[in-house]
């Protein structure tokens, strides 16, 4: 995926035009995880929706492989059980319910959800729901995953577990990943490169590269260094 000079505005409730993104350029390759960090309201969600083709940009060029969005909330369908929710994309692609369940089951078990196939979404913990939602995203088969603050709603412990788990899942199942987050540490733990956006309208303030091996720890020197560097950039960006 390569985006160059992406700009986008939308109309607010009063009909005024609000610029969300200003000339944002990004690039991510298969097997890479690019994290996008920025303050709330800097147009991160808009950026993902542009890349996933849910909105059209006002300006700039975008070459993207088919991309799938994992929204902030899990949005599991309450009338489907966990395995049906996970295999939704397969049914949309034309598989029967039984086929879809069968093909999804191996990964379902791999994600530690074995035994919860028939659980309703309301019976799952937050972390498990997020894993079902992630599997649903993965099974769409698209080469580019756009994850919109996937762990934002989880408590700190579950969140740390899920970050480890995501790193593992991406080793087994390499894709190009765009991870939007407001958590700089999460970005430093997981990403190959981190793009820092300014407050609205979102512009690229800096692009920081990490090449330390995984799995990383919060206390690794490079993680700490990137974290403080990114926070500095964020602070200078909002202090304009």
């Amino acid at each position: 995926m390569r985006a160059q000079g992406l700009s986008h505005s939308y109309r607010d409730a009063h009909g005024r035009s609000v610029q969300a993104l200003d000339e944002v350029s990004l690039e991510v390759r298969t097997g890479e995880l690019l994290a996008v960090v920025g303050p709330s309201g800097c147009g991160k969600t808009t950026l993902l929706e542009l890349i996933c083709g849910l909105q059209d940009p006002d300006g700039g060029s975008l070459q993207a492989a088919p991309a799938v969005l994992m929204p902030q909330r899990d949005l599991l369908l309450p009338w489907l059980d966990a395995l049906d929710n996970a295999s939704l994309a397969l049914r949309i692609a034309g598989a029967s319910r039984a086929q879809a369940r069968r093909s999804a089951h191996a990964m379902f078990a791999e994600l530690g959800l074995d035994g919860f196939e028939k659980a309703a979404p309301a019976e799952l913990s937050g972390g498990m729901r997020q894993r079902v939602a992630f599997l649903r995203t993965l099974l769409s088969g698209k080469p580019l995953l756009c994850l919109d603050e996937p762990f934002g709603a989880l408590d700190a412990i579950t969140r740390a577990e899920m970050q480890e788990w995501l790193a593992g899942a991406l080793v087994r199942e390499p894709r190009a990943v765009l991870l939007v987050t407001h958590d700089v540490e999460e970005a430093a733990l997981l990403a190959d490169a981190v793009v820092v956006l300014s407050p609205r309208p979102g512009r690229v303030l800096d692009r920081l590269v990490l090449d330390s091996p995984r799995p990383r720890r919060r206390s690794d020197e490079q993680v700490l260094a990137l974290r403080s560097r990114a926070l500095e950039v964020l602070a200078s960006g909002s202090g304009r």
Partner: protein, 277 residues
């Protein structure tokens, strides 16, 4: 550190609603009913109100007991009208709601007419219905459907359009067609609301049948309980009240039967609360 999953022990899963035993749920309404019947009986005895105006409950009970063919054959006619009329109302209300949802222009065009249809005094069109379809059951079904489709239509249209924008975006990003998004996300979301609408329709369906029988004449020995009540009301008050009591009981039975159907068709409804954090 290895990547690991932590399944929840079964005991921390969200509890399902536990149904209380039938006996204890029936107790309160039964006590209230008995109290009201007692007050009614007392009022009739003490006030000396004319029995042609207000029969005592025991007289109504006796009229039900001795109702025989006029009561039960007429009831069978009315019950058939109610059930078939409601089926027609559900089909029309739900079908129209889906069509309005998929074609907003139709919604804008037809919604005001649907609202307006509820203000039409049925006797105005009764004669026309009979002119078109004769003295049989069909004109009655049309009247019942006209009265009952509306709650189904309104609840279903609202529920279909209350599906979140984010949910539809999700379906799009998974490459769902408009039809797939409708079938997988919108239709199931609307089902509980449609069933609630159907329950309201059921509750008014019985009075709908009464209006239908009064507004469109019938030939034959048993014109239905509504007509029978209208005949009885001036001379045989106890029989009129007996017929009314049977209709009320029937409406209650229908209403609660549908609640059972609802639990079958939309079991996620009671436990969906925690699904979106």
């Amino acid at each position: 550190m290895s990547s690991r999953a932590v399944p929840l022990p079964a005991s921390t899963r969200a509890p399902r609603r536990r149904a209380r035993p039938l006996g204890s749920r029936l107790l309160a309404p039964f006590v209230l009913l008995l109290a009201l019947l007692g007050a009614w009986e007392l009022y009739v005895v003490l006030s000396g109100v004319q029995r042609e105006l207000l029969p005592a409950p025991h007289e109504v009970a006796s009229a039900i007991w001795h109702g025989g063919a006029p009561l039960w054959r007429n009831f069978a006619v009315t019950a058939e009208e109610v059930l078939l009329g409601l089926a027609l109302a559900l089909a029309v209300g739900f079908g129209l709601a889906v069509a309005m949802h998929l074609w907003p222009a139709l919604r804008r065009a037809a919604y005001p007419l649907a609202v307006g249809s509820q203000a039409v005094p049925i006797p105005v069109i009764g004669v026309l219905l009979v002119f078109w379809w004769g003295f049989g059951i069909f004109p009655k079904l049309v009247v019942i459907a006209l009265i009952c489709f509306f709650p189904v239509l309104v609840t279903t249209v609202d529920a279909l359009s209350s599906v979140e924008e984010d949910q539809l975006k999700l379906m799009r990003t998974l490459d769902a067609s408009r039809w797939q998004a409708f079938r997988l996300a919108e239709l199931p979301a609307a089902l509980p609301a449609a069933l609630s609408g159907a329950r309201v329709a059921l509750a008014v369906g019985v009075i709908g049948a009464f209006i239908a029988e009064v507004a469109t004449p019938t030939t034959g020995a048993y014109p239905g309980l509504g007509r029978q009540i209208m005949t009885d009301v001036n001379l045989q008050a106890a029989r009129a009240y007996a017929g009314t009591a049977v209709l009320v009981a029937f409406a209650l039975l229908c209403f609660h039967s549908l609640a059972l159907v609802e639990r079958r068709l939309a079991p996620w409804r009671g436990r969906a609360a925690g699904a979106h954090q």
